[in-house]
Symmetry: D2
Subunit: 367 residues, 4 copies
C-alpha cells in the first residue's frame, strides 16, 4: 500500500477495520501550537457512526488515545501519534462474506492482490472506518489553520439528486463555513435537509442506498500557495480526496458544468476592491495555474451510493468459481456522503496546511 502522504506535514495512517486498533502518525506539526481536544472530539463526532437515523446504527468509540507529540495539549514538535482502539466489532455480521465478494466492494480485489491473507472483516483497510485516523489529523490541521485565519467547511451540495442551496463563491464568510458542521444534518437549507432525509430513509427502508455531492471551501488563504506542474493545489488535493472510500469525482470552482460555458462567461474578470485585487466571479474556485489567487477555494466531491446494500445481488463463490446470489446482513449507512462531509474537510485542511509550509519557505526566499 501507500499509507503516507504529504511533503512538509507527513501523514501516515494504519489499521484494519476489525484489528486491534487504527491510528495515525503526523510529522511536521509546529511545536508550541495548542490543540483544543474537546473541539477535536466534537469534530470527530461529526464523522462517527450512530449519531442519527440517517447513518449506520453501529456505535464506534472513536476517541483517540495520543501516544506522542502532544504534552498538556501543546504540540511538542515530535511526530504526533494517535490510536483508536477497536471495541464494538461484531465481526460475525460479515462472516458469510469471506467466500462471496460483495459487488463494488474491494473484497475480490483484496483477495487477489493480497493472496487471501488480508484481514477483510468489516472491510479491512478498505473500510470507511479508516477515515477516522485521517479525520484526527485533519481536525488538528483545521485548528492550526484557524489560528492563522484560515477556515475550512463543507456541506452536502446534493443527495439523491436533491440539491442544497449554494454558497456564494465570491463572498463566502467564516460564518457560512461553520453552519453545516453545527447542524444535526450538514446542509445549508432546512428544506433540503428534510427532503434529503426522506430520500435516505426511503433508501434504508428499501435496503438500498443513495449517493451525493459534497462541496468544500476554504477562505483566508494567502495568494501564492501551490505551483504549476505537479505541485498544483488541485493535484495535491485530489490525490488525498480520491483516497477517501466512495469518492468517484473531484472538481474545482464551477467544475464539470464549466465545460458548457464559453470563455467570456467563465473567465473571472478582475476588479480592485478597497485597493485589493479580487475577481468579479469565482468560476476558478480560487485556484489558477495551480496557485491560490486569494479568492475562496471551492471544490466538489462526488460520493457514490453506498456499495453495502441489503438487496440480493449476483456474486460468485471464490472456492467454486460459480455465480451465486449474495444477501448481505448488517448495519450500513444508506448514504455514506453524510458522514463523509467532515472527512472531506479533514483532507482539505491537511493538504492546505502542507501547502502553507511550502508557502513559508517561498515567502522567506522572495523577500
Amino acid at each position: 500500500m501507500t499509507s503516507t502522504f504529504g511533503k512538509n506535514i507527513v501523514t501516515t495512517i494504519f489499521g484494519e477495520s476489525h484489528g486491534h486498533g487504527i491510528g495515525v502518525v503526523i510529522d511536521g506539526l509546529p511545536a508550541g501550537q495548542r490543540i483544543d481536544l474537546e473541539e477535536l472530539s466534537a469534530f470527530l463526532m461529526r464523522r462517527a457512526p450512530g449519531q442519527s437515523a440517517y447513518t449506520t446504527e453501529r456505535k464506534e468509540q472513536d476517541e483517540p488515545v495520543f501516544l506522542s507529540g502532544i504534552l498538556d495539549g501543546v504540540l511538542t514538535g515530535s511526530p504526533l501519534s494517535a490510536v483508536i482502539y477497536n471495541k464494538d466489532q461484531r465481526s460475525k455480521d460479515y462472516s458469510n462474506l469471506r467466500d462471496m465478494p460483495r459487488p463494488s466492494h474491494a473484497d475480490w480485489n483484496a483477495h487477489v492482490k493480497y493472496k487471501g491473507h488480508m484481514d477483510m472483516r468489516g472491510g479491512g483497510p478498505f473500510s470507511g472506518r479508516i477515515t477516522a485516523p485521517l479525520s484526527i489529523a485533519g481536525g488538528i490541521a483545521k485548528q492550526i489553520l484557524k489560528s492563522r485565519g484560515i477556515y475550512v467547511g463543507a456541506h452536502l451540495a446534493e443527495v439523491a439528486g436533491i440539491p442544497d442551496t449554494c454558497w456564494d463563491k465570491v463572498h463566502l464568510t467564516e460564518e457560512d463555513l461553520r453552519i453545516p458542521g453545527q447542524k444535526d444534518f450538514p446542509t445549508l437549507s432546512e428544506d433540503a435537509a428534510a427532503e434529503i432525509k426522506s430520500a435516505i430513509q426511503r433508501a434504508r427502508d428499501e435496503q438500498n442506498s443513495v449517493g451525493g455531492i459534497i462541496e468544500c471551501a476554504a477562505i483566508g488563504l494567502p495568494q501564492g500557495l501551490g505551483s504549476p506542474n505537479y505541485g498544483g493545489v488541485e493535484s495535491r488535493l485530489s490525490h488525498v480526496l480520491f483516497s477517501v472510500p466512495a469518492v468517484r469525482g473531484v472538481s474545482f470552482g464551477t467544475g464539470f458544468p464549466a465545460t458548457r460555458m464559453t470563455g467570456r462567461d467563465h473567465n473571472d474578470e478582475y476588479q480592485i476592491v478597497d485597493g485589493q485585487v479580487r475577481t468579479v466571479t469565482n468560476h476558478a474556485g480560487g485556484v489558477v495555474g495551480g496557485i491560490t489567487n486569494g479568492m475562496p477555494l471551492i471544490f466538489q466531491v462526488a460520493i457514490k451510493p453506498t456499495s453495502s446494500i441489503g438487496l440480493p445481488q449476483q456474486s460468485f463463490s471464490i472456492a467454486e468459481m460459480v455465480e451465486k446470489t449474495l444477501e448481505v446482513v448488517g448495519r450500513h449507512d444508506p448514504c455514506i456522503a453524510v458522514r463523509a462531509v467532515p472527512v472531506i474537510e479533514a483532507a482539505c485542511a491537511l493538504v492546505l496546511l502542507d501547502l502553507m509550509e511550502d508557502e513559508n519557505g517561498f515567502r522567506s526566499n522572495q523577500k
Copy 2:
C-alpha cells in the same frame, strides 16, 4: 515548483514557453525496450498546434531531440532526456500583457509568487506548451504498455454541450481506443465531429472559446494495480491529470452522475465469463478500492473553455493598480480540449506504467 512525479517511472519536465527549450527527463524506463520514433512523432503531431482549423494557427516544431537514454532506438536504462528547442516564438504578440493580467490566466498569480521575475512570455511555465514534454514521456509509455498488451485511448466525449457517442464500458476493444487518434478530429461519431467543429468555428469567429469533456480508457490491465489509502489508481492519476492546464475536474467510471443512482443500480454485479470473473456493468470504471479489477479503466476530464479570448475584458494595471480594459491580440485555440486529448492519454499511460512497476514487485512477492 514541483516538476517531478512518479515513484518507479519518475518524470521531470522543464522549460518556459518562450525560453530556449522545453524538455523532459524520464527515469526508470526498462532497458532493452525498442521505441518506434516515427510512431512517437505521429503521436506528438496529435497535440501539436496548427494541425487544423479547429486549433491555433501557430506552427510549433515539436520534434524532440534525445540527449540520453536511447541508442539506435533502444532504451539503455539511463534516464531518457529529450529537448524541444523553441523556434517560432513571436513574443511581441504578448508584449502588452506584462502590466495587465489576463483573466483566468496565471499572469497575476505568477507575478505575485515569483516577484515579477518569471519569464511569462507565452504563458511561461503555465503555458499549454509545457504539455509537449509530458506527451513525449507519455508517448513512450504508451508504446511500452502496448508491448505488454495494454492499450490507452481517449476521445472528446463532449464539447460546448454537444455529446459524442459513448464507449461501451464493458466491451471496450483495442480497435475502439485506436479510432479517435486516427481521425482528423478525435470523436467517435462523425456527426458529433461536424457539429462540434461548427461550434468551435463559431467561437473563433466571436473571439470567444468553448470547453469540453475528454473520456480516456485503458484495457488489458491486470487485476491488482494500485492500493487502498494514498496509492490508489484514482489518486495517482488525478494528481497528474490536474497538472494539465485547463483541467477543472476528474471523475471515474460513471462519474458525477453516479451520485444520482441508487446502490442497486450502481453496484457492478459479478458474472463468470469463460472461467474469468467479470462485472456485468462497469460503473466503477475498472477500479475498486483504489485497485484495478481487470475491467476497462475509464475516466473523464473536464476542460474549461480557453481563457485566452479576443473579446475585451476587465483587468487592471499592476503598476497603477487601477481597473483597465484588456484586449488580447494573438492566436489561440478556441477549444483547447481538442489538442488535450493526446495529453490526457499521455498522462494516463505514464501513471499506468508507473503502477505496473509496483505491480511487478507485488507479483514477485506474492508467489
Copy 3:
C-alpha cells in the same frame, strides 16, 4: 522532523523516550509471509538495556504490541503497526537537565528548534530508545530476507581501540554472520570480548564512556540491487544508518584505509569460480557503481563514545545564559556501541528489503 523512510518498504517511527509509547508503522510488507514472533523477541532482546553489566542497568520492557498488519503470525498486506508502551520511566533522573544542556546531546538544539516545547525527558525523540521501533521493523525485515536466502549480521569490530578479529570479506558464511548475535557479547573473538569488557568496565568506574566501530555484512544478495546516481546501495544505507543516534561515520568495503592503497592493490580482479563470476578480493564491500555485485556486502559504522557521562562538565544555564558546571546523575551505557549492533543489522535489513522490491520490478522488466 522526517520520521518516514523507504520507497517500497516505507517505515515510519514515532514516540518520545518518556511519552506514552513509541512505535512503528511499516507499509509494503508482503502479504502471506509468516513472522516468528519469538525469534523477533529474541532479536529485540539483543538491543534491550539491562541485559548485561556492560550496558545500562535500566530495564525497559520492549515487548511490542501489534495493532494491525499481522493476523495469527502472518502478514496481511496492510501496514503493520506496533507499539511499545512506556513503563519504567524514572523521569526524575533527568529533572535537573531542563535548564542545563548536556554537552554533545541534542538538548540545546532541541530547545532552540522546538522553542522549548519538546518533551525532552529521557532524551525525547533523540533518545537511543527510538531505535527500538526501528529494530522491530528491521527484525521483521531480517526474517523476510532469511526466507529468501539472504543473511544479515554484525559484530563489534573495535571498541576503545581494541580490535576484534576480522571477517573474511570474500568467503563470509551464514554461520559467521550468526555467531555474534548468539553470544552474550557481540564479538567474534573471545579474547577481544574479554579485553573490551574490561575497558568498558573501567569507563563505567570512571563515570566516563568509550566508542567503537560496528562491522555489518549481508550475504546471498543477488547481483543488480541499487543503481547509479541517487539510488545507490551506499546512499540508501547511509541515509538510514546516520539516523541512528551516535553514528559519526559510515564506510564500505575497505573503507577509509582504502584511501591509502593504490589502484592495483585496491581493485578487485575477476575470477570464474564454478562458472560464476567472483572477485578475488572484496575491497568494494560487494557494491560497485551503487549496485550489488553478488559478493558479500560489508560496511562499517563509527559510534562515538556515549555523550552521557557522570563526570562534571562545563555547560550553561539557559535561563541565565551563564556558564555552569553540570553533573549528570543517572544510568547510562558506558559504551552504546554494544547495544547498537542489532540496530545496525535492523537498518541494513530494512534497506535491503526495500531494494529487493525495486529489484523485482527490474527483473520483470528485463526478461
Copy 4:
C-alpha cells in the same frame, strides 16, 4: 535508476558519458536571485579535466547551456535546466572494454542489470563525467548560500597517506574556506601539495593510481537545520555524497578516530562567547541530534584510488566466460580525489540549500 534528489530544492541529473549531452534540472530555486555566470564557470573549471598535470589529459568543454529558468542572469522561479553537449569523446579508446569488464568498475554490474543495453562508452552513467551536472547545480547553490552569509569549502586532507594541514574546527573562517579553491592544487599547505603532486606523478608513471580524503566544511549556518530521525543533516548529506563515484566513506566531525576517544574527551563542552552559546571543541562537526548547532559543519569523504589503471589486470570475457588479462589504454586521472574536491563542495551546498528551505518553514511556524 534514481536520478532525482532533494525535498525543496529538487535536482535531477541525466546523461551518459558519450551520449549527446549531459545535464541537470533544478527545481525550487528562489526567483529573483542573481547568478554570476563567470563565477560559476570558474567553479566548474576546478572540476574540469585537463587543468593540470595531476589530472587526466582529456579536455572536456564543460560549458553549460541554459535552456530555462534563468533570464538575463536572474533566476525566474521556473525549473532551471542546463545541458553540457558532448564533444571530445574519443570513444574508440574504450572499444576493447565491451567484452572485458574493468575490475572495480561498474561494467559488469551494468551489463547484468541493464541486459547489455546500457551505453557504457566512457563509463556511461557511471562515469565521473556525470558529476559535471551536479557541479552546475552545486555551484549555483553555493552562490545562493553565499548571498545569505553561508560559505562552503573543501580541501584534500590526505592523498596516498600524505596529510595536508588541518582546519581549526572551531575558528574556521570564510577566508580559510576560500583558499583551496583559489590555488592550482587544493591543499592548505604548499609542502603537502608538493609531496602529494610527486606521489600522483609517480602513480601516473607506474600506470597506477592513488586515493585520498577530502575534508569539507560550511560556516555561517543557523542553528536548527535538520532534524532527528530520517531528516538529519548527516543522513541527507551522506545520501548525496555516496552518489559521487569513488566515494567509499563519509564521516562527520572527528569521524572514525572519535571511536577511540572517551566521552570526556569527545564531548563538546559549552561556553558563552559574547553572549552567544558556542562549544569549546567541535568534535561533533557542527551537527548534534541531526541538527546544526551553529558551529562549523565539518565532514570527511574517503575517495578510493582510481579504478582505471594501465597495469594489466585479471578480468574475463563475457562472451566466453573465461578469465583473461585486461590492459586498459586511455587517459585517466591517477588521483580522482583532486577533481572531486569541488564536486563535494557542490553536493554539500545543494543539500544545505535544501535544508535551508525547511528551515524557513520551521522559523515561520515557530514565531
